[in-house]
Symmetry: C2
Subunit: 493 residues, 2 copies
């Protein structure tokens, strides 16, 4: 990978933890713990002038200057005021990178700005040492799922939140909020068992390194398909746009962005959070538009979209290009609302070709013929199947087959009622394998009994089939696939 | 209650089930089952010319004409073609209402329209018998939670979906989609254990009775605070607007509406669902605007909003009027995004008065002073508390007290990280009682470990404290309270 400086931060050979401590309530303790327990394969040196003995079997040093080996990266978890002095020692030692998690810099006004100026001087504008942060939660690199027993390492975790439950996948996060490499990051991995990550990088105040270097690195990294970004400010809008445009011509690469600090109130909050300065909201709109990224409105959308693209890339399903989709629903009302929502998200239910329509006519009762367009209210077919003692799974499979065989239909949206009484798990067993091997994406909206929904979710996740909690989420997520196809195509011409 | 005809449908003294059957796959079987097992206190007569003996201990009759007692309501679950003949018998018997669940009328075109014309003639334009439906899923009236052991009845359930798990509450549903008195209705009651219902009425094709009669009834009914409506067409827009305006001056009454069939594609779907004819989308907008109802975009929003108002009315919390709200978050990034979302939903984080600010300054560490405005990133206070061995619950309570005592702050939004390690349940134990007795609403957004979220949810539900799955949902739902206050106020002047 080209960007050597990012490689130093996400893949160092040796690290010093400045502020390592035996006290488990201290961040420096938890950072060391994360490195050790997740089997970081490089060398780890706990640094604390006030500590004696060992931490997790590693001997404390008073200063980085006591270390004999070469050190790639120093991770700081000490109060802001003492950072400049220690940074001078790091430079003296020849350490190339400093990851500073402490806060109390640009975001707290005058005093913090003075500290920043001191650091600029000491580092000679970051030419002597590169800095990530301050005011961040560090980096996670996931090499292996946390629940896989193995001698090889789980990855590289420098957050001061404790990491012990994670899944490797094809998503990389770049964030100006620490929680995306802390509590919220863990929350997302619990919430979506089918969503795995490769990296999460909290960039904090972006005193030196910013979204730019990480974005460049992840665009080049073939293990990353989806780049999920949260920013409160753009460090270099022109370069950001250029990189996003470049990503459009890279196969299997999608960038999703949430921008915080769009309103005056949001900018006030952002200033007190990461010291980010207000950007004109028109400028923000222009950057988003020109970069052609997928825009998410909030963290929920950011990770939901990330999951959708992640699984699309992972399974190699064909991306829909035109928005022609079929809907299978168990309710006419849901069908009507879906039809409205589909329009809103750039999708449509096309008219069925003769062949598919004929198959459907055979499955529907005489008193209730099917629609001519690709919105199938299956309730009458299920009722007919029950009356005639025909397996509902077989009927469902025939409907899927008919719709998936239509060339102009690019995928299927499915409302599924999960109920023990209606034995939908049996229907699922009949259909999941066919859906898994289909080249077109099939999305599910699961409703019904909580326990049955959970069972169905786990089954679908096993087969890498996407499911959603709301009708609108399902439709919106199919819509962004079409949007991304159009973006990528635009870039080609 | 004034509307006698609706009373006949939701609260009949005796019913005949036309199409009752011993075969459990038939709708007529399940309807009878619903009536019996949920302890409908009136008389039930199963009608089927082809059945002998008894069903759930009730003797089959060949026809309603065989019944000696007076019958209030006939519930039809038989094929569309035979309905006109049986309807003539019902008129002869003096039955006042017919609830027709069968489909195959307006929504299937020519044949169905002929049937409708036959019914119009037989009933002399519904002067001889009133009709609910056809193509609907009937009515639910919930008198008592399903899990309360009691000799008194659970309620009155006429859906052909099986009802055995429900909660009584202050919400009434009027719906042009059967699933809101079927699978989706059950789904919602499982999804929100803190949301209870009083009625759900599926109006289907609205051949005779429509949303109008039910709306009027529920506005008058003091057991109903929230009316959640799904419509594909307006039967009488002028009357609808008039009733909604009337509701504005009724204490503790809120109407929420989802309109399906807004786009051309949606209208096509709606036509094939309930035979509803396309309305101009400008007309729809005008009706919604003039009626001053809370508009929901989809079913998910409809019931989420219903739950929010339901609990606000149930607990008697003070409705926010101006949108001045405080936010407690554990992450600066979430704070920034919240600030943006708040603006979008008409809320703002006001500047703190001296008294509250001073309290916060005491709780924050020196290196990280609090904001001057009502956006509190509590992480530094928690860290300080841990360092000094102070109970975090006590610190949280002080923050709540400071914010709730500010006259101009109308409520609190709270991001809560649920983690076994951080023992948030202990914090909850300290704060829930104070939140419960506060006159201002406090909303939670719960993130973290799935099991801990569930625990926290159950605890909050016990105390009738609202919690949400996403940041945007939490903010949006506070926003609609302000919107409703403004609507109600507008009507006063």
């Amino acid at each position: 990978l080209k960007n050597n400086i990012v490689d130093l931060f996400v893949n160092p050979k040796s690290v010093a933890v400045i502020g390592a401590s035996k006290n488990p309530t201290k961040g420096g303790h938890r950072i060391t713990n994360n490195l050790v327990s997740n089997k970081f394969k490089g060398k780890i040196y706990p640094i604390n002038p006030n500590s004696e003995g060992k931490l997790f079997g590693l001997e404390f040093k008073k200063s980085v200057l006591e270390i004999e080996d070469e050190i790639d990266l120093a991770i700081f978890y000490v109060p802001n005021q003492i950072i400049p002095n220690i940074l001078e020692e790091c430079i003296k030692k020849g350490i190339k990178g400093a990851l500073i998690e402490a806060s109390g810099f640009e975001e707290v006004g005058k005093k913090g700005l003075e500290l920043r100026d001191q650091i600029l001087k000491i580092t000679d504008n970051f030419s002597k040492i590169r800095i990530l942060g301050p005011n961040c939660m560090g980096i996670s690199r996931i090499d292996r799922d946390s629940d896989i027993e193995s001698d090889t390492m789980g990855g590289f975790f420098t957050s001061f939140a404790v990491f012990d439950n994670y899944t490797r996948g094809n998503v990389a996060v770049i964030s100006q909020s620490g929680m995306l490499n802390g509590g919220y990051f863990m929350h997302i991995m619990e919430k979506y068992p089918d969503l795995g990550f490769r990296y999460s990088c909290s960039v904090g105040n972006k005193m030196d390194l910013s979204e730019i270097e990480f974005l460049e690195y992840f665009i080049d990294d073939p293990t990353v398909n989806v780049i999920a970004i949260y920013l409160e400010s753009f460090k270099d809008p022109r370069k950001f746009i250029e990189l996003c445009k470049k990503a459009k011509s890279v196969l299997n690469k999608t960038i999703i962005l949430v921008k915080g600090g769009v309103t005056t109130q949001g900018q006030k909050a952002s200033l007190s959070h990461t010291g980010a300065l207000a950007e004109n909201s028109q400028l923000i709109d222009a950057i988003v538009k020109q970069s052609g990224v997928i825009k998410a409105k909030n963290f929920f959308e950011l990770f939901q979209f990330a999951r959708t693209f992640s699984i699309m890339y992972k399974t190699g399903k064909k991306m829909p290009k035109h928005g022609n989709v079929a809907m299978i629903s168990g309710s006419g009302g849901a069908g009507t609302v879906s039809a409205d929502l589909a329009i809103q998200y750039g999708l449509n239910f096309p008219v069925l070709k003769e062949k598919a329509y004929k198959i459907l006519v055979g499955l529907f009762p005489e008193w209730m013929p099917p629609n001519k367009f690709a919105l199938v209210d299956i309730w009458p077919t299920m009722e007919k199947a029950m009356m005639n003692n025909v397996s509902r799974g077989v009927v469902m499979n025939s409907i899927y087959e008919a719709l998936l065989n239509e060339d102009h239909i690019e995928g299927i949206l499915n409302m599924m009622f999960c109920s023990e009484r209606f034995q939908n798990m049996r229907i699922f067993d009949d259909i999941v394998e066919n859906i898994r091997i289909a080249s077109k994406p099939v999305f599910f909206w699961l409703i019904g009994e909580a326990r049955e929904i959970l069972k169905a979710s786990r089954l679908l996740e096993k087969y890498n089939i996407l499911h959603f909690q709301s009708l609108e989420d399902m439709i919106k997520n199919f819509g962004i696939l079409v949007q991304e196809s159009k973006n990528k195509n635009k870039n080609k011409n």
